[in-house]
C-alpha cells in the first residue's frame, strides 16, 4: 500500500492538531453544559416572560448552524470592537451551541423526575432551590448522561469547523500537510481515521452507559 508509506511522517503534525481539537471540545463542553443547565432550569420558570425569552434563545441557538455561529464570533465581532483569537472564538461559538442543544437534553432529563418527589421535598420543608439542587438535578442529570455523551461526540466532530477560522486543529493540520506534499488523499484519510478512533469508541461508551443506567430506572 503506497498510500500508507507517508503516514509516520504525517503523525506528529496531526497529533498536535488532534490535541487542539480535543482541547477545544473539552473547553466548549465545560462552559456549554453548565450554560445548558441554567437554560434548562430557566425554561421551567414560572414567569412567562423568562420562559418565552429562554425558549426563544434556545430555538435560535439550535436553528443556526454551528459554522455560522463560529463565523459570527470570529469574522463578525471584530467589527463591533471585540476581537477574539481563533481559539477563543471557536470555544465561545461551540460553547454557545452546546448550551442551546444540551438545554433541551437536560430539560428532558429534569422533566423525567416524578412530580411527586418535588412535592415530597416541599412537604419536608425544603426550599425550591434545595429541591432543585439535591433532588431534581442529580436524578435528571443521570437520565441525560447517554444523550450528553452522544452530544459530546458531535461537538468533538464540530471542532473540525474551526478549520474555517484558521485554528490549527486536526483538519487544518491535515489540509496544510496536504497542500505542501500534494498528498491530500493520504493525509486526509489518516486525519479521518483519527477522528473515528475517538468517536467510535465513544459511541460504544454511550451504548454501555444507556444499558447501565437503565438498570436503576
Amino acid at each position: 500500500m503506497n498510500i500508507l508509506n507517508d503516514w509516520p511522517s504525517f503523525l506528529p503534525g496531526l497529533l498536535a492538531g488532534l490535541g487542539v481539537s480535543v482541547q477545544v471540545a473539552l473547553l466548549s463542553l465545560l462552559i456549554g453544559v453548565p450554560g445548558g443547565l441554567l437554560l434548562a432550569i430557566g425554561a421551567g420558570s414560572k414567569k412567562k416572560l423568562v420562559r418565552t425569552l429562554i425558549i426563544g434563545i434556545v430555538e435560535i441557538g439550535r436553528g443556526t448552524p454551528a459554522l455560522v455561529v463560529l463565523q459570527i464570533f470570529y469574522f463578525g465581532l471584530p467589527a463591533s470592537g471585540l476581537t477574539l483569537s481563533s481559539i477563543g472564538a471557536s470555544v465561545v461559538a461551540l460553547a454557545a451551541t452546546t448550551a442551546a442543544y444540551t438545554s433541551e437534553i437536560l430539560r428532558g432529563g429534569l422533566q423525567s423526575v416524578p412530580q411527586g418527589e418535588v412535592e415530597a421535598a416541599g412537604a419536608l420543608g425544603m426550599s425550591r432551590g434545595d429541591t432543585l439542587r439535591f433532588i431534581v438535578i442529580p436524578q435528571g442529570f443521570r437520565v441525560a448522561i447517554p444523550s450528553l455523551i452522544g452530544f459530546a461526540i458531535l461537538i468533538f466532530q464540530a471542532t473540525s469547523l474551526a478549520y474555517t477560522v484558521a485554528l490549527p486543529e486536526l483538519l487544518s493540520q491535515a489540509y496544510s500537510i496536504g497542500s505542501t506534499t500534494f498528498n491530500y488523499l493520504s493525509v486526509l484519510v489518516l486525519a479521518g481515521l483519527m477522528y473515528a478512533a475517538i468517536t467510535i469508541p465513544a459511541s460504544w461508551l454511550t451504548c454501555r452507559a444507556e444499558k447501565r443506567l437503565a438498570r436503576h430506572l
Binding site: 436553528g63 443556526t64 486526509l188 484519510v189
Partner: protein
Amino acid sequence: MDIFLIILQGVPMTIGLTVAALGIGALGGIPLALGRRSKIPGVSFIAVSLIEILRGIPPIVWLFIIYFGLGTALPMLDPLTSAITGLGLISCAYMAEIYRGGLSAITHGQWEAGEALGMGRPSVLTVIIGPQVFRVSIPAAASYAIGLLKDSSVAYTIGVSEIVYFANDQSRQSSDALGPFFLAALVYVIMTIPCAWATRALDARLRQKVAR
C-alpha cells in the same frame, strides 16, 4: 436589504443539496439497515463498520477527502458533486440507524401473521413491514433532515455557493462584517422552525396508520 436578497440566492442551493443528500440517504440506508440485521456471516459486520465509519468522521472531513483527496484523480468531482456525494454517504449511515429503530418498533407478531398467511419473508418485508417502517421513521428522519439542512453549510468550505458562501462574500465586501452572518442565521432559523412544526403535525397524522 440588498445584502439579505443576495444571501437569499444561496437558499435554492442549500435546499437542493439537502434534498439530494437526503434522497441518497433514504435509498442507501435501506440496504445498510437490512445488512445490519442479516444473519449471513460477515454481512452484518460490514454494514455496522460502514455505518460507524461514515458517522464517526466529521462531515467536513468527508467533503475534503472526496473533493481534495479523490478530486485530484477524478476531475468530474466538482464542489457540488463532492458535497452531494459526501453528505449523501453520511445520510445513508444515519438513515440506516433510523430505519433500524423503525424496524424494531414493528411488533414481532406482524412477521408471524404474515408467515401464517403463507407469505415468504421477502414479501412480508416489502408489503407489510416496509411501509410501516417508513411511517414510524418519518419523525426521526425529519429531525435528521433539519440537522442536515444546517450541516449542508459545511459545503461552503469547498466552494459550493450556498447561504454561508454568500454571507461570507458579503461580509468581506461590505463595511458591515457582522450583519451578513446574522442574516444568514436568520435565514436558517426561518427555514428550520416551520419544518419542525410541520414534522410534528405530519407525525401525529401518520402515527394513526401504524398497527399496534
